[in-house]
């Protein structure tokens, strides 16, 4: 460092120069901020317009009967009973399959797997799978689940298909969540004499739960709106009955017949209504869309709540 040797006047000039420079850079800062806001607002505006239009068209059509009626050729008496029940049951199967498999795979890859070529290949494939178009999953499922495993065009086949679809999302989310746990937590557990499984079960899983749940919900929110793979495996368009009840008779407390029942889901019901000649069905489609958006939004809300709730419990 050289000692200060400039006269005061030059010094002032230098300071002014720096001030100008800062001001100029701040202008850029401001401009970028403005650009960001404009981008954000235009995205929100598009969403708000679409949602608003759907509200205007669909809201007058929402009634209790809409939820409790089967589809019909008469727009006024058509409802979404078989569609929403189908969506709920398919999502149930998807969750039951995708969560244990995805979380298990994520934990294995992060905590157990040795760093070698095989692990690298698996990792690359999992990441790539997240980008595969959903119709490809549909085609795979048509061959594998529907025909090879003989599940037919059933709720089970659809649930498994969507489970495959969101598996990469769940695995990646699990791994990201686990990576945020500091190494010294693991070392602390080992220092107290914990085995690897104890360390995973008592520390890794509970601490990464908020992140995992967020990933699961994001995956499910994607799956609930999927149409292409479900149509590919053969979901039906007109179905005016419900799958058998999951609660069986006195002999068998739970019945699993519903897994093999034919079904339809909300996006397919919407698609069918949109392509009808009668204009009244367009309003039905808007109302069904509204319900679907509400279903997705409430799933996201649950994700946010879970994240918040579980984070509060973690004390380290």
């Amino acid at each position: 460092m050289s000692p200060q040797s400039h006269p005061t006047t030059t010094n002032d000039a230098a300071v002014n120069e720096i001030r100008r420079l800062i001001a100029r850079h701040k202008t850029w800062d401001g401009l970028f901020g403005l650009l960001g806001i404009v981008t954000l607002l235009s995205a929100l505006l598009v969403f708000a317009t679409l949602f608003g239009q759907m509200l205007v068209n669909g809201l007058p059509h929402l009634s209790w009967e809409f939820f409790t009626s089967f589809p019909s050729r008469r727009a006024a008496s058509a409802g979404i009973l078989s569609a929403w029940v189908g969506t709920v049951l398919v999502m149930l199967v998807t969750t039951l399959v995708a969560v244990p498999l995805g979380v298990g795979a994520g934990i294995y890859l992060e905590e157990y797997a040795a760093r070698n070529l095989l692990t690298d290949i698996i990792e690359i494939n999992v990441t790539n799978l997240a980008g595969v178009p959903s119709i490809i999953y549909g085609l795979l499922a048509l061959g594998l689940f529907v025909y090879q495993f003989g599940l037919g065009q059933s709720i089970a086949a659809a649930g498994l298909t969507l489970a495959l679809l969101i598996l990469p999302v769940v695995i990646v989310a699990t791994r990201e969540a686990i990576r945020t746990i500091p190494q010294n937590i693991r070392e602390g557990a080992y220092a107290c004499g914990a085995t690897k499984w104890q360390m995973v079960a008592h520390h890794i899983i509970p601490y990464s739960l908020p992140g995992i749940m967020t990933g699961v919900i994001i995956g499910l929110a994607r799956a609930i709106g999927e149409t292409a793979p479900i149509i590919t495996i053969g979901a039906l368009t007109f179905i005016a009955f419900l799958p058998p009840s999951p609660f069986g008779d006195a002999e068998h407390l739970l019945s699993f017949e519903w897994l093999l029942a034919p079904f339809t889901v909300m996006p397919i019901q919407m698609f069918n209504w949109i392509s009808r000649p009668e204009e009244a069905f367009q309003a039905n489609a808007a109302a069904a869309g509204l319900i679907l958006v509400v279903m997705t939004l409430s799933m996201n809300a649950i994700a946010i709540w879970i994240r918040h709730h579980f984070r509060k419990k973690i004390k380290w």
């Binding site: 050729r73 039951l96 009955f241």
Partner: protein, 334 residues
Amino acid sequence: MNHLASSPAVATIALLTALAVHPSAGAAPPVVKIDGSSTVFPITEAVAEEFQKARKGAVNVTVGISGTGGGFKKFCRGETDIANASRPILKKEMDECAKAGIRYYEMPVAYDALTVMVNPQNGFIKSLTVAELKKIWEPAAQGRINSWRDVNPAWPDQKLKLYGAGADSGTFDYFTEAIVGKVKSSRGDFTASEDDNVLVQGISGDKGALGYFGFAYYIENQKKLKAVAIDAGKGAVAPTPESVENGTYQPLSRPIFIYVSEQSIGKAEVREFVGFYMKSATQLVKEVKYIPLPAKAYTGNLDHLARKKLGTVFGGRNEVGLTIEELMKREAQL
């Protein structure tokens, strides 16, 4: 399975495997499975709805829309009881069914009129000849016929915008065969959609538009569209239920069918459903804006069933310009 319950993954997989091996019989009501053309869908759906109401849930009916081709694929694999078809079964599909040992009853259920439409503000088009339509739609027209004047010098120099059915639909097959003379032969630079409402929107918003689709969509959107009368050499005829019935709306009237599997008809619920279909068709077909066949066509179908007259009268080829009367004569020969 209690000890496994703590591990949902294991439980689920075990359960699904078990189900895959032993499909449950159960006491659920029998299901009549139908799939196929989206053109026939509204009719079959209406019948299914009324049938389920009449049987008070004792029989369930499912209807899918895989398209005529997709519907036959499932039908010939024995996955469905009934196939909805907007054209007769083709040779390839007949072979497929024969290979799987699936025999079937062919039952025409209604007529549809492919309707050619222009924008309501189009003042100079009242009717079009088949030759003019061919000039507009044939593959050679691409790049050459771009305005109405290119079709007929008497018409204004307004840009011609075309709307038509998607290439996978039976409607596209029928229209190209009836107008251009060769199945699937069409110019490619038009707005194609499987969703007819997209076509309705397009034609109603574009002054120079011309397009075609099923009669039901025209009836529901009469205010936004103008139907064109078709002249096949015997004067211009507008598409109406009457002109289809008396066979003058040519060559764009077409019969639509259901195909019933011989194996399935052995099941009481399928036999009952088909009986109900033929009895209620006249009224329900009209209600969903298609053109019903004469009553004797429906009794004829049931008669074929009773006398085990299997197979098709079309020999595996699509045929254009068949009037209801000709169809009836043909079916009677089975």
